[in-house]
């Protein structure tokens, strides 16, 4: 099953299990969303549970908050990463804070689905990785699947959460296939997963970069470097115990993401690893990411995005310490 199909199946299951689950956003009804992640849901659940909205992202998230207050569990789709910013106020000043503001009288079981990242040859605002803005905001939970099995389970667990969850979906991997276990969830929602065991260096990745990291590890093995790969899966909270255990084991950490590295997830993780694993480290935590520029035009993105070579260059630098 492909990631897009797994998300679709997870949504379908959640909507079958709980009549309070709603799915809405731009073009999500008859069309099934621009990536077809909601395909068939409108036909199965009808206008009152799967509906198109006006093209107004603040309106989508703001009304989702009101629907959650009314006892619904809204799942909203933001069509592309770069279109989330009109909703930034509702997400950060309202959704993230209402449970705290109400001293627990209000729960906010709202899910925001955001296809993110580059690699599909798109025009501006369709290839961004804005996760750090949201990971910085207390009150939000953030997850990102890298494979179909996680996609199927994460969307369902996000919907069950009483807290707001943003699920960043790796859009260029939507069509990547893999096995899905429909009976047993793989692990708790906010856990990181060891994807490949290694002894020389730890490679941390999430979302679309997990596949790239595994490619790098494979190439590294050919050069005699034994790379351990961890998929973060959750960006808020971050499963630090799993990260620290690996850092303590290998003593070398490289982290990769598409987002610009400046004040990014890897900035925070590098600081935490330095703080908690100082005496185990053989090298500073090195980072591979997008450059600190606006996302480039499509013809340049292949060169802009981190790839296995850029990752291995950082691995080599780490090994040289």
């Amino acid at each position: 099953m492909a990631i897009a199909k797994a998300l679709n199946a997870g949504l379908q299951k959640a909507m079958q299990d709980d009549p309070k689950v709603l799915m809405f956003g731009e073009d999500v009804a008859q069309l099934g969303g621009v990536f077809r992640v909601t395909e068939g849901l409108h036909k199965e659940f009808g206008d009152s549970r799967v509906f198109n909205t006006p093209i107004a992202e603040s309106g989508i998230v703001g009304t989702a908050i009101g629907l959650a207050m009314r006892g619904y569990r809204p799942v909203t789709e933001i069509q592309f990463d770069g279109f989330v910013f009109p909703a930034f106020n509702q997400i950060t000043t309202q959704l993230a804070k209402l449970t705290s503001r109400s001293e627990g009288f209000l729960q906010m079981p709202v899910v925001i689905r955001i296809p993110y990242g580059g690699g599909i040859g798109a025009v501006e605002h369709h290839s961004e990785s804005p996760e750090a803005y949201f990971a910085h905001t207390p009150g939000l939970r953030i997850v990102t699947p890298s494979n179909p099995n996680d996609a199927y389970w994460m969307i369902q667990e996000a919907i069950k959460s009483p807290d707001p969850v943003i699920i960043f979906e790796p859009k260029r991997r939507y069509w990547q296939k893999g096995p899905v276990n429909l009976d047993i969830p793989p692990m708790p929602l906010h856990s990181a997963r060891l994807m490949r065991e290694g002894t020389d260096v730890t490679l941390l990745a999430y979302g679309p970069m997990v596949t790239t990291a595994l490619q790098a590890a494979e190439l590294g093995a050919g050069e005699g470097i034994n790379i351990e790969v961890i998929d973060l899966r959750s960006l808020s909270p971050i499963d630090y115990p799993t990260l620290f255990a690996s850092a303590n084991k290998t003593g070398r950490v490289v982290m990769v993401h598409e987002a610009p590295t400046n004040v990014s997830l890897s900035s925070e993780i590098a600081a935490r690893i330095a703080e908690n694993c100082f005496y185990s480290l053989e090298a500073p935590v090195l980072r591979v990411g997008g450059f600190d520029t606006p996302y480039p035009p499509a013809k340049l993105e292949e060169a802009y995005l981190p790839d296995a070579d850029r990752i291995l260059e950082a691995v080599d630098r780490s090994m040289a310490y």
């Binding site: 009304t63 009101g66 959650a68 207050m69 009109p86 309202q94 207390p138």
Partner: protein, 372 residues
């Protein structure tokens, strides 16, 4: 500014206290006809009570007991009139100046004072009071109100004919907030989904220092028309007009008529907040013009002409003074919660960063010695 008389505005009670129903507003007049003397007295009592409360809160702020106060003086007619028109199942989404609406639904005034003192950010139970939390980011709450109203409609609680079950939503905001994109998106979503909601715009004519003519080029009651939300202007200093308009349009929303917008033309007699200095941007003569159109004085004249005796007004005054003394005492008695409380409700389910930071704070405080 003085009002633009070319804009139609429903007024049932003139500034001199004369009551009369123009023919085109007959259906609103019928609503007032159905009110008994006790209800009229309640309107007066609560308008006077909330003004006395406001004056006391300003004094408490000046004495350093509140961090900030947001006075509603001059807007009591709009708030008490509309507030009492909201039904027992309906939900209210205020901005941050609707203290008058709060008392019409039994919200504990100390909840608001606690927030303005700085011991919490709200913290009352919006499900229980149906009066949602104050929203300080302008216009943000209007979308929540529309979403709530959409949910009411999805629940099938609109237009069933069962008055004990059906409900509608009212959202308050001011002339300044109408500039926010969220308000436009709210009008659009409400119209598209035919949500049971009344948008109640208190046009108090000043967005801090910006006069209303700098924030709109058409009367605000027309703001919804391009989205498909009809509207009307009422005299916001006429408690009866505000009651009748809100009652009729909330009833219609509950019955399935879809959204409606009421612009209540009023005036902010006081400052925007206790941090503001209106003498920098407006003439005292303008304030005097509006003081002569005061909602409470006007209604008192009307009630006295109805034969309500002096003793009632004296009782109201005494009750107001007692309320002021009571909130003063309770404000002085408010305690500051321990810092560790900030961790309590960031998430509904445990989050490791919060657990860790709470533990760190506890250890740090213990290492520094007890504060007890």
């Amino acid at each position: 500014m003085t009002p633009d008389n070319s804009t139609p505005m429903m007024q049932l009670l003139a500034p001199d206290g004369t009551y009369g129903v123009p023919a085109q507003y007959a259906k609103y007049g019928e609503i007032i006809d159905s009110l008994g003397e006790d209800q009229l007295k309640t309107f007066y009592r609560d308008m006077a009570r909330i003004r006395r409360f406001d004056i006391e809160a300003i004094a408490l702020q000046r004495q350093g007991q509140l961090g900030l106060w947001v006075p509603a003086i001059g807007q009591e007619g709009a708030q008490i009139g509309s507030g009492y028109a909201v039904g027992p199942n309906d939900h209210i989404f205020p901005s941050y100046r609707e203290h008058g609406v709060a008392i019409t639904h039994g919200v504990e005034l100390m909840s608001i004072l606690k927030m303005m003192r700085g011991v919490n950010h709200g913290g009352w139970n919006p499900e229980e009071t149906r009066y949602h939390l104050y929203s300080i980011v302008l216009g943000a709450q209007v979308l929540h109100a529309v979403g709530y109203a959409m949910g009411v409609k999805f629940d099938g609680r609109v237009g069933t004919g069962d008055k004990d079950s059906d409900l509608a939503v009212i959202s308050y905001f001011g002339d300044g907030a109408t500039a926010e994109g969220d308000v436009s998106e709210s009008l659009l979503f409400a119209a598209v989904y035919e949500a049971p909601i009344v948008f109640f715009v208190q046009n108090n004519q000043w967005a801090i220092s910006s006069p209303v003519e700098q924030v709109t080029k058409v009367p605000l009651y027309m703001r919804g028309s391009g989205f498909g939300v009809p509207g009307m202007r009422v005299d916001g200093n006429d408690v009866l007009a505000c009651y009748a308009a809100t009652k009729l349009h909330m009833d219609e929303a509950r019955e399935g008529a879809g959204p409606y917008l009421i612009e209540a033309l009023t005036y902010r007699i006081g400052a925007h907040t206790t941090s503001d200095d209106p003498s920098k941007y407006r003439d005292e003569s303008e304030v005097e013009y509006w003081k002569a159109r005061d909602p409470i004085a006007r209604f008192e004249t009307f009630l006295r002409r109805q034969g309500i005796e002096d003793s009632f007004f004296e009782d109201v005054k005494q009750a107001g003074d007692e309320l002021a003394a009571d909130i003063r005492e309770q404000t002085f008695a408010l305690t500051t919660p321990p810092l560790e409380n900030i961790f309590d409700f960031v998430y509904s389910e445990s989050h490791p960063d919060i657990v860790q930071q709470r533990a760190w704070l506890k250890a740090y405080e213990e290492s520094m010695g007890s504060h007890e």
